[in-house]
Subunit: 312 residues, 2 copies
Amino acid sequence: MDVHQVVDGVLAREPRAIARAISMVEDGDDALPALSAGVFAHTGAAATVGLTGAPGVGKSTIATVLVRTARAAGRRVAVLAIDPTSPYTGGALLGDRVRMQEHATDRDVFIRSMATRGHLGGMALAAPEAVRILDAAGFDLVIVETVGVGQAEIDVAAATDTTIVVLAPGLGDAIQMAKAGILEVADLFVVNKADRDGAAEVQREVKQMLHLGATRPWDPPVFATAAADGTGIDELWGAIARHRTWLESSGTLAGDREAAVVHEVRALAAERLAASVAAELAGDDGIRAKLRDRALDPYAAADELIRRLAPG
Amino acid sequence: MDVHQVVDGVLAREPRAIARAISMVEDGDDALPALSAGVFAHTGAAATVGLTGAPGVGKSTIATVLVRTARAAGRRVAVLAIDPTSPYTGGALLGDRVRMQEHATDRDVFIRSMATRGHLGGMALAAPEAVRILDAAGFDLVIVETVGVGQAEIDVAAATDTTIVVLAPGLGDAIQMAKAGILEVADLFVVNKADRDGAAEVQREVKQMLHLGATRPWDPPVFATAAADGTGIDELWGAIARHRTWLESSGTLAGDREAAVVHEVRALAAERLAASVAAELAGDDGIRAKLRDRALDPYAAADELIRRLAPG
């Protein structure tokens, strides 16, 4: 399949072409610019939802239940689990297979984990590209699930239209979440595993934290779910729809999306320039020796490389 | 204090100058290149230790107990807690104050949390700069503690000489850690809160995961601690020293450090080029309109900006 066939296949909603396109993003394929150019004009219709939170809070389970709910409502839905590759485990892929079984013959569902180590820009650049492919492939809803709970993961989730922060009793309290900068990016909070001890406390803590912050035009609601048996998912689904309506009616959506794509172009240009810098650095033993001997400090070395790359 | 006074003060080990220098890093001060140039030749003697792990596992407590142990051994020690700023909480600063009290009059201890939003390159660039300041200020041991457990946090911890991954029962199991890519960067594992249910299981899980992976020249040991009452800290301290000896005798240290500084120069040059790209993008309404209307895709826009910056 050459890149034009991949683009045509994505637009024709063929699962094999979609999978191939995501793999191209994952691998940082040389044909990514052509893929990007081919799908971009066909994007913008999908609603994107980010799911972030500490490991173990139940993000995958919530994603799975949301898929079922979306299908019951007649919506085409894709899940993209952003998973930094680890040679130590095939856990994520195994999870995908389990999740896939239920929808194995349903072309209106696409579930995929995506490693990002092959992509020059890491998950921050790989995620929006993959989301656009799914958008161009006609999925009404694209759910982006992150694995960790660091700044990069939060940024990825925050780049979606609606960001859901998932918490659970006993798994990193609200103060820890606040320290990680997670509260500011949330449009909706979910306290999952609500049947466990301490769930009401977590809800109360989050609400208190929210009241300490500056008033925002959208006041993030806090939901209790027990995703494993579906409790609270209908309410969450309703809130996702309400947030969507608000984004559109307030004009926030257009502004957020423009800011996101501008941010992405900046990062993309920076990554490509960084690759040129890296090549320059790799080819110059002298500058590396000076750094090693502490005769040239990192800023001075960076300056020297920039001068070579962009004279004047 | 101008930047030369700051540099002289850092080299003279004055707490006020050291604090000012760290703040300059935090704020992305214009004089950072001069600061970096001033201290770089005086670095390299400190042993650096990274502490990473999920929120709530007890990293701060371990850092505090290691400070006490280091002081008992007559070593000068600094702790740098890398904390993405949140307007919602002063938690980290409060924690610092509590931790500081014990060593308030001891000039051989420096404990500081560092936000990184003012720094162009985020924590990946701010952390090594701050570490070099502490190194130049004559601290024998510099402990770098991260708050989250995302890729960026793992990268920061991994850029230290010795990386300690902290786990605790019930707080994100080993499989989740493996998914976050954390196992590969660990030189030492600590299962903290070892007095709680499930601690032995976490230890067993980590050891199993390690055996699944490729054999590495240094086989990371797994320790049980209960940092709150000091249990296991002497053993951990001994292992840090053994890892240090191995790094030096195997020649690994020099190679690791060269790779880290080369990586940093690459990122630094890229960030500065990115700032130029951002300025270009901000000044060009036409290119933003084309992106918004999906007439120009992100790769093509990045290409256009790169051409303007580095013609030819």
